[in-house]
């Protein structure tokens, strides 16, 4: 799977796609946090989005995946490899507390965090 070799680019595009979806819901970048891990064994990217902003989670989830599909037309099966869990949180920091404890997983939070703040 090509995901491994272009992880950095993919993480960036995923973050941008989620950011677009959040903006559609009226959530500015400062009002959400996105963290993620990449599981080397399964090529799976697991994203967690936390927001303290009122949100229609179902709509945000659907918009995020629509943007992800649109952002990566060259990888039509990208959504097979990505999961997203949306949390309403009191503090955005909560989303970073769940650091990975799994041996095969790499933390993508640095990438997504940079994009959150860019």
């Amino acid at each position: 799977m090509a995901i491994k070799t272009s992880l950095r680019i993919i993480a960036r595009r995923l973050s941008e796609a989620v950011q677009k979806a959040a903006l559609k819901q009226g959530i500015p970048p400062d009002d959400f946090a996105l963290a993620g891990t990449y599981d080397e064994a399964t090529d799976r990217i697991r994203l967690r989005l936390g927001t303290d902003h009122p949100v229609d989670e179902r709509r945000l989830y659907a918009d995020a995946f629509e943007e992800i599909r649109r952002a990566m037309p060259e990888i039509p099966h990208i959504t097979y490899y990505v999961s997203l869990v949306i949390h309403k949180v009191e503090s955005l920091e909560e989303i970073y507390w769940d650091a990975t404890n799994f041996e095969d997983e790499h933390d993508l939070t640095d990438l997504t965090e940079l994009l959150n703040r860019s």
Binding site: T42, R44, R46, R48, E57, R58, Y61, A62, F65, E66, R69, H77, T79, Y80, S83, L84, V85, I86, D98
Partner: protein, 142 residues
């Protein structure tokens, strides 16, 4: 591919139904334990779907895993989940996969009160939402 002769379709079928009954019996008094049993039931039910869809009576050795997002590949349902029309089911699936992967083991070592009501309700909704709950979805499969 190795087949696990100790894990028959018949046993799996009985096991998920039993876990569900046990979960229902404990739901009011021990909701965290009940939820744990329901996640076990979900995993076992997915294993029965794999056997049925592959037309075999024994679980393949490759499916000897508790990882729901690995098991779903063998059901042939991953494409259905990735269909934009099923984003609601997919969202609930992602919630349950994360819970099973990152929380289930922790819960075993914590008092039931550690599982907050909102958290419990989120998982139960992800399973049983009448429109796009994962358990609801699996129950609708032919």
């Amino acid at each position: 591919m190795g087949l696990m002769d100790d894990t028959t379709l018949d046993n799996l079928d009985k096991a998920w139904q039993e876990r569900e009954k046990e979960a229902k019996a404990l739901a009011a008094s021990f909701p965290a334990t009940s939820l744990t049993l329901r996640i076990y039931a979900l995993e076992i039910r997915i294993k029965t779907i794999i056997c049925r869809r592959l037309g075999i009576d024994l679980l393949p050795g490759h499916c000897k895993t508790h990882e729901l997002d690995e098991l779903i590949i063998f059901t042939g349902l991953l494409g259905t989940l990735a269909d934009p029309a099923n984003d609601g089911i997919r969202q609930n699936w992602d919630i349950l996969v994360r819970f099973a992967r990152e929380r289930l083991n922790q819960i075993r070592y914590l008092p039931g009160s550690a599982l907050k009501a909102a958290d419990l309700n989120e998982q139960l909704n992800a399973l049983d939402n009448p429109r796009d709950g994962v358990w609801t979805w699996l129950s609708r499969l032919p």
